[in-house]
């Protein structure tokens, strides 16, 4: 039966990992704007344009 306890510990650990991932995603602002990114991803990047997302404000 002790194997069951081990499995439960694992499962909770994995689920906890997802919870942390969720909290992290919310903190990063992924749920702040749920519309604009869906439009933005359809824009074509011009070749050679640089990514400037490092200038985003830290919130």
């Amino acid at each position: 039966m002790s194997v069951l306890i081990l499995l439960i510990a694992f499962s909770i650990l994995i689920a906890g990992g997802f919870l942390i991932a969720f909290i992290w995603a919310v903190k990063e602002g992924q749920y702040d704007d749920d519309y604009t990114p869906s439009v933005r991803m359809l824009f074509d990047d011009k070749p050679g344009s640089d990514n400037k997302s490092s200038l985003l404000p830290k919130q």
Binding site: M1, I5, I8, A15, F22, T36, V39, L55
Partner: protein
């Protein structure tokens, strides 16, 4: 809702054979062109050329004619106040000398092209490092290098391309930047996580009906559940406790009180059962309740971020003014303005405070305040009220009253603006109190019964009753019904401030309309020519003349000519616009005059003032005829009024205008309707107040700032707006002009909402009877609770969602 926002393209009259501006889509002639594309004005062409030079023509490919027409010209000093350090400090969110961050509110953002262009600003000016837009909030974040480009230049660039940021006193007074409420999402996430895991760990318990066979394992499961329930109880559910406690302290049993009690009792009993080893507890039910309730509240509170329902006059006023001191121009913040100060108001700027004209001629457009769009002429020495917009050349003025005491802002000092509307008036509150009362009676009855027969079962039966009869199904039905109804209203372009508006709307028996901008279109008008027949050449001459003018009547005539004739502009010489009189100019060596009767004929005899919407024409001194410009009623408005009147609504019209339209209105509204003209903002407010004192439930429809008091005073204040991105006065709901004709359906739908809630209450009472019948017999096992809770919640949510959607379809929404 999202689709509605994206499809919010400008209303345009599309007719065959009419050329549309490649940039903004306005009907235009073929005189201005570049690259075989036609433009309505030089402004639009310049923007096109700017974008083309920077390789940004993708803008025109993402959406059709996405541009925003810039009306009138900006004076070079318009944004001078942004160089003021005080103003900069207020606006910038972050600044370290190398990089500055700023957020702007851009109400013009309306399509994918806008997003694309605004996020590619850095290709136009290297000083702009990065920009990111939030479409739903119409917010643009810009990071720029202040050593390369000033804040003023950034704003000027935006204004030039048509996206003039909305910078107001209101935003500057607030804390910098917006704070997104992420707490709710965290709470739902945590509650959901714990709920699912507790459920999983409870499965052995469910399937073995309380006897797992291995006591050690059972103990591990129970204690793990207990640990998992702690964050739900102490973190996710704390809003319910706080709200219930606040209510109790004011001796008021609010809707959260029975929920808090149920959570508390469930948690307490579960701890007792687990620690004493007598059972597995009801932690799965408890965390499930908290999770569903949080989701319900989140669903109901999904409001329209880009709309603002609480604007007061501060949102309408500019941030900076130009002060004249010893002959020098200085920029100052508007709040620092004092009576006696001398100010300079340029073309297209707003009068910031009640002031007297000292130099120049005021030509004031009060459309913003009164909805009346004929500009008023103000000579030297005359008093001009704050809120008007100067259409003519720059004028100098002397401030009489500072901003807070000006005529228009006084309205906000009225008590109405201090009060909160619809506070705890909801019919759900009495329901929840009865519910709690009956629940206590049942629990008491069970306790009494068991005290005679088997005293060991008193506590199990009482606590089980409180656990199973949680009023959450009642609350869930209300939150999901209102949440879903708000979505349906939104689809039909009525955007509600919050759910309580639906209840207020269902009780309406009196409707008060404003006229201009509400029943009629604010920008469109009927143009009727009367007089000698004009040749094509003469039409071209008139067209060329009105094209030069900024007067709203000229604009209306111009648009009308474009869509009705194949116009071609001619060169105009010696063009002059005489404020309050008309236009004159020489076209093809002929003197052309357009304007008032007096201006054209020189006749001192004044025509009936109610006929002020007439524009007379003379060519080389020969009188030709006149354009009659009258309000155009919105499509479907007459039919809408007809559907309303027999249904026992009392109808009223209060207008700030003159009574030119009286006969017309009376025929639409019928003889019983009361129609009033020449009403000041205060009169309107008093009128609503009078109706309310007669015990009527009043709905007010208005558009301008002059309706602000009446909108606030009424039970439901609906601001009608041509374009939902425009600014609207404080109100309970914003209605797109195209939705006005559905008013009757909206009220009917709100009424059906109450029926849906009543039915779902009955459904939830049935569940409660089942649950209580188990619990009073002290037979409630965790398994029954765990089945009953999600089944009742999910079935009620499904029922109300389907019922409200069906009802919306039924009502034609």
């Amino acid at each position: 809702m999202k689709d509605a926002l994206l499809n919010e393209t400008k209303t345009q009259t599309r007719r065959k054979n009419t050329v549309q501006c490649y940039h903004c889509g306005e009907a235009c002639d073929r005189s201005i062109s570049a690259d075989q594309k036609f433009f309505c004005c030089e402004g639009c062409k310049f923007v096109y050329q700017l974008l083309q030079e920077n390789g940004l023509c993708n803008y025109y490919e993402l959406s059709e004619r996405p541009g925003i027409k810039v009306r009138g010209k900006f004076s070079s000093q318009r944004f001078a106040y942004l160089d003021n350090d005080e103003v900069k400090r207020k606006l910038l969110r972050f600044n370290d000398g190398n990089i500055s961050h700023v957020n702007f509110y851009l109400p013009q953002m309306h399509c994918a092209s806008c997003i694309w262009l605004l996020e590619n600003l850095h290709t136009i000016d290297a000083g702009i490092l990065f920009s990111k837009s939030d479409f739903q909030r119409k917010d643009l974040f810009i990071a720029f290098d202040p050593s390369k480009i000033s804040l003023r230049k950034v704003v000027e660039l935006l204004a030039f391309t048509g996206y003039e940021p909305y910078i107001s006193l209101h935003d500057a007074d607030k804390k910098k930047g917006r704070k997104v409420n992420r707490k709710k999402i965290f709470k739902i996430g945590v509650a959901g996580f714990c709920f699912m895991n507790i459920m999983m760990l409870s499965f052995p318990e469910y399937f073995s009906s309380g006897n797992i066979g291995n006591p050690a394992l059972q103990k591990v499961f129970s204690y793990l559940n207990l640990v998992l329930s702690l964050p739900v109880f102490f973190y996710s559910a704390n809003d319910f406790f706080i709200s219930a406690w606040k209510g109790l302290r004011q001796k008021w049993l609010n809707i959260d009180a029975p929920i808090a009690l149920a959570i508390l009792v469930t948690f307490g009993r579960s701890i007792y059962e687990i620690t004493s080893g007598s059972g597995a507890g009801y932690l799965d039910s408890m965390s499930g309740i908290v999770f569903f309730m949080l989701v319900g509240r989140w669903f109901q509170d999904m409001t329209y971020d880009s709309f603002s329902f609480d604007r007061d006059y501060k949102s309408y006023f500019p941030l900076g003014v130009t002060l004249l001191k010893d002959g020098n121009e200085e920029t100052s913040t508007i709040s620092a303005l004092q009576s006696g100060d001398r100010i300079l108001v340029r073309q297209n700027e707003m009068i910031p405070a009640d002031a007297v004209v000292t130099k120049g001629q005021g030509y004031i457009d009060y459309s913003f305040v009164s909805g009346e769009n004929t500009p008023v002429l103000k000579k030297g020495g005359e008093l001009v009220y704050a809120g008007g917009k100067q259409l003519g050349a720059a004028i100098e003025m002397k401030v009489v009253n500072p901003v807070e005491q000006s005529y228009i802002t006084q309205l906000w000092n009225n008590d109405v603006f201090m009060q909160q509307k619809n506070k705890d008036k909801s019919f759900i509150h009495p329901w929840s109190r009865y519910f709690t009362l009956i629940l206590f009676l049942i629990a008491g009855g069970a306790a009494l019964y068991w005290s005679y027969t088997d005293s060991s079962k008193i506590w199990p039966s009482v606590t089980a009753a409180l656990i199973v009869a949680c009023p959450c199904s009642l609350l869930l039905s209300a939150t999901f019904t209102f949440g879903n109804m708000q979505r349906h209203f939104g689809k039909n372009k009525l955007y509600l401030k919050n759910a309580s508006v639906i209840e207020a709307l269902s009780k309406i028996d009196t409707i008060v309309f404003d006229k201009t901008g509400t029943l009629t279109y604010s920008a469109q008008a009927n143009v009727l020519y009367q007089g000698d027949k004009l040749t094509n050449h003469e039409i071209n001459m008139i067209y060329s003349l009105v094209k030069e003018s900024i007067h709203p009547l000229s604009r209306i005539i111009k648009q009308d000519l474009i869509v009705s004739h194949p116009v071609h502009p001619l060169a105009v010489k010696d063009f002059r616009e005489l404020a309050g009189k008309g236009l004159k100019g020489v076209v093809e060596s002929k003197q052309l005059r357009l304007g008032s009767w007096h201006f054209i004929t020189g006749d001192g005899f004044l025509r009936d003032p109610s006929l002020s919407g007439e524009v007379h024409i003379s060519i080389d001194g020969v009188y030709k005829g006149y354009f009659k410009i009258s309000n155009q009623y919105r499509d479907g408005v007459t039919e809408m009024i007809r559907t309303l009147s027999p249904k026992k609504y009392q109808l009223h019209v209060v207008s700030g205008d003159n009574d030119a339209e009286k006969r017309n209105l009376q025929s639409i509204f019928g003889a019983q309707a009361r129609i009033m003209f020449g009403q000041s903002p205060q009169d309107k407010l008093n009128y609503i107040n009078k109706l309310k004192n007669e015990g009527r439930e009043v709905l007010m429809l208005g558009d301008g700032l002059n309706d602000a008091g009446a909108l606030k005073q009424s039970d439901v204040g609906v601001a009608v707006s041509e374009n939902t991105s425009q600014f609207t006065p404080a109100c309970d709901a914003i209605l797109d002009g195209r939705g006005v004709n559905k008013l009757h359906q909206f009220i009917q739908y709100a009424r059906s909402g109450k029926k849906v809630i009543t039915w779902s209450f009955i459904l939830s009472i049935l569940y409660n009877i089942v649950g209580l019948s188990f619990s009073v017999q002290a037979l409630l096992s965790p398994l029954i609770a765990a089945i009953l809770m999600p089944v009742s919640s999910i079935s009620i949510v499904t029922f109300v969602t389907l019922a409200t959607s069906f009802s919306a379809k039924n009502k034609g929404l």
